[in-house]
Amino acid sequence: MKVSLSWLEDYVSIELGVNRLADALTMAGLEVDSVKERYEYLDTVVVGRIVDIADHPNADRLSVCKVDVGGRMLSIVCGAPNICKNVLVPVALPGTRLPGGNTVRADIIRGELSEGMICSEEELGIGEDSRGILILSGSHRLGTKLSHALDLSDTVIEFDLTPNRPDCLSIIGVAREIAAIQKTRLKRPKVRLSEAKESIQGFTSVTIEDPVLCPRYAARILTDVHVTPSPFWLKDRLLSVGLRPINNLVDVTNFVLMETGQPLHAFDLDRLIENRIVVRRAQDGERFVTLDGVERILDSETLMICDGKRSVALAGIMGGLNSEIVAGTTRVLIESAYFNPSGIRKTAKRLGLSTEASYRFERGVDPEGVIFALNRAAQLMRQVGGGTVIHGLIDEYPRPVTKKIIYLDVKQTNRLLGTQLDRDEIADLLKAIELDVTVIDEERIRVVPPSFRVDLERPVDLIEEVARIWGYNRIPTTHPINLARGKRLNKRLRVRERLRELMVGCGFREVITYSFISADSCDQLSLSPEDSRRRLVHIRNPLTEDQRVMRTSLIPGLLYAVSRNIKQGNTDLRFFELGNTFFYTRSDQLPEEIEMICGIWTGNRYDKSWCYKDIQADFYDIKGVVENLCQGMNIPGVHFSSLTGNHFPYFRHGYAAEISCGSSRVGALGEISHDVLKNFALKDPVFAFDINLEILLDCIPDEKKAKRLSRFPGVNRDTSLILDKDIEAQAIISFIDGLHEELLEKLYIFDMYPLADDKKSLGFRITYRSFERSLTDEEVNRIHKRIVQKVVDHFHAELPRG
């Protein structure tokens, strides 16, 4: 919503400076978005002197002028009849955007260079004379800005209005707020109409068939009008708030719309079949061409303005081509109506059509302002279009909007705000914004809001007005007595932060990727057709193709982040993300949201340095990270097994493991398969883990318990075995664990290397320790030998010779 200061001053005298005014409006809840000089667009229009005129060699009606713009001589092609030597003229330099929409350019016109444009008043939007170029009187320095030379200045304030204040979608509405702020008077325009004798009843009639969608419809008629361009003052007002003038009659409707906030429409009465108006709903599937030339398909929810036979306007939104004012129009029907806000909104939404009119109707115009606006428009049309105002008006108002009566309690007001205002203070604050206030008793007042304040319906609406006028910043600031009652953080929140710490400790950078990804990411991950991650949640109105569905895996987002960084030349990357994935369930149910944690590692194991060789990270690096996570969370019974089945098809076969905690399968880790890498334009190996946080949460013990520690020394024994290559390390570990040797404290594998003949060597160390005593060598040797023998027997292993 834009207003110009010069227009505002027609209704209120402005006593504050522009900046103070803008500030005060913002603090009153009318947020000022920008304050701009209206004639900024004239900054590149300067005063020049025509020093020479020559005929254009290739065009009879054009001349080539030499124009001095102060130290510079420009050659400008001009076709104006009134050019003459030595006069001062406005010269628009290249780059100037004229109000008519054209931009001035340096150009060759019929073979002659033209380095600017000598303009008329009308072209500059500062007057109505378009017959020739503007010849400046008086003396001005060449090159001076035209706005300085002519002392042109006006301020345009643009508001970002909240939807509850449609009453401020007009110049008078904003002027009213300013008057309240300054405590000065609002001057409403006076309307005096001289009407013809003939009564409107002989010209037209209005029938409302749907009083719910159209509670009020009023009309007036003018005859013998002339459609012409508007006079300058009218154009100037519209231009000052960014509206384009069309013709005098249409401009009047737009002027009154801006002035009062009441949208109007002007019909050519002679183009209305049977010269009458019927307000009714459209037929389902009806087609209608609006003023903008677009054919629109309507439904039975759409309210239409019709004549005796057909639709002539989309009610409250836009007129139709079939009844608009044209050059030959002489008889006009002015419509001023009140339409149901949600009805207009539905239609505007459905058609994707928002206009100055629909914007106001859907927020709520003043139902009692209909007649004033209608009369104001009739008066102005007569003034700028001549003709006769027919006697009387039609005012169909089948369902008068009742005045609201609100009772406000002083105690309740103070209780909600934390203030100590008395009854009279509250009453005075409300009276200041034109509310009708009556005192009932010590504690209560009765308030009738003016009809333009459609937002005031309940006591709390009035309390807000009290706070607003009193000033939010004058309300005290005190410590709430109710504070501090915190509960223990829930497990998920605690676990999530601990996981973050652990990942950071492993040298990973946290990333956040979008929750929506491209629909083909399932294919990019090679997911099978029956994979549950194909239960996609689709977005109906995505911004881009690659944000079409909600992710069912964090892996694509991470791979994309990796790919992006590699393109930037950063190849050593360790990323992790914590976030939700979304699975379609049933159309009448919300999707299932599953929180995941994923990590990804590519490039070197160590950061580049003089002391490390470039060694690529591998499977065991990412596995180490997962082991760290599990140990850091004190999860018991974690084990890894070779990946089987088809649930993680994006890992490379043979280079991936499933992660389990006890009997819960929490996820997988491994090397991303070559096919998947290719889909993300990646070449070098990438390792990742993919863990379901919902399952992991249940595996994490709620409490940590300290164990008793032995004060006796441990004794180590190392053994190497030669085994079949296929025997997994985990099998040996589980087997030894299963022997339940009570003195065995710890087992770890210190060595592994492949041998010929599909064999491998595996070295492990066992630590033995007792809680009661120091163990003797003989004792330990005996136990260790027994264990080794059992392993050898069970796995058909050999001990190395020698």
Binding site: Y472, G486, Q547, N565, P591
Partner: protein
């Protein structure tokens, strides 16, 4: 003679103590104790003394020689030690062995900071689904279908009645449905709106808060938000409370802080107003209470909400919001 020996001895001792290199030391040795050395010469000349003086002078001279030998030995050890220390030193200016340094995303860091402040004030953290029903996201918050306020939050739809939440306010409704007052919660999380440019991303983060009890008033709201602003920025940050509109609060307020970039003189970040919008808030609208079955005559409350990206941008001096989701490692390494 005795004086000569004493003089040579003192001279030599001084030289030895000041010697700063092995080379210098060996030259001194040759000079005093060498075959043609000064002290050697003196020792030799004893033979030319009268016989009765010889034993005494011999004793003195040998004493001096011994002492010097000892001094040479000490100096030798000292210099050798110094030399060896010099050759064993390492280049301490070589960079250390790198240990991979992980980092949290800046949005996580700011979310933590915000949550910690409210946790200290006694608020609890509650979470909720990111895909929501129209009811929780709009209807229960006093935004029926076809309410113009819905224009303020362009929405991604999944179906007629499901959508990506446009704010974390649905969590407030869900909490009030589940629990009776007093309620004192904050709700952090991802939210989604159809918008993308230098200051908007289609996904961003919010923290919203809600406090409901008997006798909670606007004055309390002002205290909580002032305290929050003073802790997340600094104590000297001034605030202003400006009337605004949200369908689920009344009175509604927008909280501005003095521009942290220009300190109020006006700059591009604050559109030359000297103020930055940082929070939306208000007293919970009675219509919302009615939807969740709270008695609006008994209970009052306030709600507030803020964008985490906005705070992060101001605190870290980030101009393009999209940087948060490009996940460029060079960007992430800064926080």
């Amino acid at each position: 003679m005795r004086e000569d020996i004493e003089k040579v001895y003192q001279e030599a001792l001084k030289g030895i103590e000041n010697a700063s290199s092995l080379d210098q030391l060996s030259k001194l040795r040759i000079r005093y104790l060498g075959r043609k050395g000064v002290l050697t010469g003196l020792l030799r000349s004893i033979s030319s003394l009268p016989p009765e003086e010889r034993p005494e002078m011999g004793r003195v001279a040998n004493q001096a020689k011994k002492s010097l030998e000892k001094a040479f030995q000490t100096a030798l050890e000292r210099l050798e030690k110094e030399a060896s220390l010099r050759t064993e030193a390492i280049d301490v200016t070589l960079p250390g062995r790198p240990i991979a340094l992980g980092r949290l995303h800046p949005i996580t860091q700011i979310t933590r900071e915000v949550c910690e402040i409210f946790l200290r004030l006694g608020f609890d953290i509650v979470e909720g689904p990111e895909v929501e029903t129209d009811f929780y996201n709009f209807e229960a918050l006093n935004m029926p279908k076809d309410h113009p306020a819905r224009d303020m939050q362009a929405t991604f739809y999944i179906s007629e009645n499901t959508l990506l939440r446009t704010h974390t306010s649905p969590i407030q409704v869900r909490t009030m449905e589940r629990e009776s007052p007093p309620v004192c919660i904050i709700a952090p999380g991802k939210v989604y709106r159809v918008d993308s440019d230098i200051s908007h991303t289609p996904m961003f983060h919010q923290v919203e808060g809600l406090m409901v009890d008997r006798n909670v008033c606007f004055r309390d709201l002002k205290w909580v938000l002032t305290t929050f602003v003073h802790q997340i920025f600094d104590e000297a940050t001034s605030l202003r409370f400006r009337p605004s509109f949200f369908p689920f609060t009344e009175p509604s307020v927008e909280v501005d802080i003095r521009c942290v970039i220009c300190r109020g003189d006006g700059c591009r970040v604050c559109s030359h107003t000297g103020w930055l919008e940082i929070l939306g808030a208000g007293m919970v609208d009675p219509a919302v209470f009615e939807k969740v079955g709270y008695d609006p005559d008994t209970y009052t409350g306030f709600a507030f909400g803020m964008g985490i990206e906005r705070i992060a941008m101001l605190k870290y001096g980030i101009e393009d919001i999209r940087k948060f989701y490009e996940n460029d490692i060079l960007f992430l390494n800064q926080f």
